[in-house]
């Protein structure tokens, strides 16, 4: 469904993505692991054209897009097929939880207000925020904000949802509620690409795990292959480090 080929991206003199290929099938949950600075965020942002990559292309559905040359119209097209969940939520500060969800429907997709409202209510209920419709982001906890962020993303019925470390800004006791929602989505067959350090989440729901380092994909396979039985030394090192960190955290 989504096939990325040879994506390159540089910031000034440093090449951050050095030719990444990625294949995502409908219903896949692709988890991307990798150390800080390996280019995970840049990869997600480039897929959504928040960053303009220098080289490479993707086939999305039945259309091909050049990362470097995509027109404004094509970019909007891709953005309407995707949604993004940010590490720091990026909820619209001047809109209530409900308005955050309806915005993409009413303004982005010309859905009548009443219908959008009903849909938003349904989705907010689904993520467990039925009593928070008219709260502004500043009035919500981090976990609640991120669940609104996810609600905003699923409302527009994207073909793929991109998650960039959705739980890493959260206090430990709030991580669970967000992962819970994501697991539910995975169960329902939502296609997702998730950058995260939550190894247990990856083991439970990932159909594919990718390990990235220095702008390249080092290892790729099922959770069992990459997390339980990594082949590459760098993967092993990384996994040792984050599992150690987790033990410290406990």
């Amino acid at each position: 469904m989504l096939e990325i080929k040879n994506i390159h991206k540089r910031f000034g003199n440093t090449e951050v993505l050095k030719g990444v290929d990625l294949n995502v099938e409908k219903g896949d949950v692709v988890v991307i692991l990798g150390p800080s600075g390996s280019g995970k965020t840049t990869l997600l942002r480039s897929i959504n054209f928040l960053e303009r990559a220098d080289q490479g292309s993707m086939v999305f559905g039945d259309k091909k897009y050049s990362f470097q040359k995509a027109s404004k119209k094509e970019i909007l097209e891709v953005r309407k097929k995707t949604a993004f969940v940010f590490q720091n939520y990026n909820l619209f500060q001047n809109k209530t939880a409900l308005e955050n969800v309806t915005e993409g429907l009413v303004i982005g997709r010309n859905i009548p207000k009443k219908k959008a409202y009903e849909k938003a209510v349904e989705i907010l209920t689904k993520v467990g925020l039925s009593d928070r419709y008219d709260f502004y982001p500043s009035q919500l906890s981090g976990g609640q904000q991120q669940r609104v962020g996810i609600a905003r993303a699923i409302a527009v019925e994207p073909e793929v949802i991109l998650f960039d470390e959705p739980t890493s800004a959260l206090d430990p006791e709030l991580i669970g509620e967000v992962l819970q929602v994501m697991k539910q989505l995975a169960k329902e067959g939502t296609t997702m690409i998730v950058v995260t350090h939550e190894i247990t989440f990856a083991q439970e729901v990932a159909s594919k795990v990718i390990f990235m380092d220095e702008g390249r994909i080092i290892e790729c396979g099922t959770a069992d292959q990459v997390i339980k039985h990594p082949k590459e030394e760098r993967t092993k090192q990384f996994l040792r480090r984050i599992t150690n960190d987790m033990e410290y955290a406990i």
């Binding site: 953005r79 940010f86 990026n90 619209f92 809109k95 915005e103 982005g108 709260f135 502004y136 993303a153």
Partner: protein, 243 residues
């Protein structure tokens, strides 16, 4: 020294007949300047070369010189320049019979453009980039994202500065008497000239300006609370709204 209280009361009412002119001199230039200032702010932010240089130069010129000087200069210069222009275009229009308030509008607008474009620029910068990006990811065009998400937030955070600009302009309009515009200060001076009651006249309009400035600040304070609701914690929202 004895104060002539009756005179002060009389002057108060006479000066107040200039209130309309003073308010027009304040709000008409602000309204005219707002869209231009916004465009300038966006051009400056986009670093559109050429334009960027011209606008930056314009802003530093108007913000770097006293408004009194701008008035004196423009008011002596503009009529002759316009007259020459109209004559060369063979347009029959007697510039010198034009209501001087027009010049006041022009100068105060030019000035407000410079101030407001800086206000809008910093307000737009204060809106986190993530807001624009998030709007794009749910399929909004850049234009929609600005109109729906970025600009409303920028305007709210600009309100205190817009309030200051308005009060400063209100005070600045008192200089319009230099152009023989009959606003509050001009009327008070006229009134005082008959019997040399300048001190009483000045104290009277002093009070008027303080009152006006206070009303404006209260008004903006209200707008800030009304439209900035989203910034306040929920349980304190009511208190804040009526504080």
């Amino acid at each position: 020294m004895n104060f002539n209280l009756d005179f002060m009361v009389a002057t108060f009412w006479v000066s107040l007949t200039g209130l309309g002119v003073t308010l027009k001199l304040t709000f008409i230039p602000l309204l005219l300047a707002t869209p231009i200032a916004f465009a300038f702010a966006i051009i400056r932010l986009k670093k559109n070369q050429g334009f960027y240089q011209i606008i930056t130069f314009y802003i530093s010129l108007l913000r770097g010189t006293p408004i009194v000087l701008q008035i004196l200069l423009f008011y002596s210069l503009l009529p002759s320049v316009l007259n020459a222009l109209f004559e060369s275009l063979q347009i029959e229009l007697d510039i010198f019979s034009l209501n001087p308030i027009i010049y006041a509008y022009i100068i105060f607008t030019l000035n407000s453009v410079a101030t407001l474009s800086e206000v809008f620029r910093s307000a737009l910068l204060a809106v986190q980039n993530g807001q624009l990006e998030a709007a794009k990811t749910i399929g909004l065009t850049s234009f929609q994202a600005y109109v729906r998400i970025v600009i409303p937030q920028a305007l709210v955070s600009a309100l205190p500065n817009i309030s200051n600009t308005t009060v400063n302009l209100l005070k600045g309009t008192s200089l319009a008497f230099l152009m023989t515009v009959k606003e509050i200060t001009a009327l008070a001076k006229l009134e005082a000239a008959y019997g040399y009651n300048y001190i009483e006249a000045y104290i009277t309009i002093f009070v008027i300006y303080v009152l006006l400035a206070t009303v404006i600040q209260l008004l903006f304070g209200f707008l800030e609370k009304r439209f900035g609701r989203y910034k306040y914690p929920r349980n304190r929202e009511k208190e804040n709204l009526y504080a």
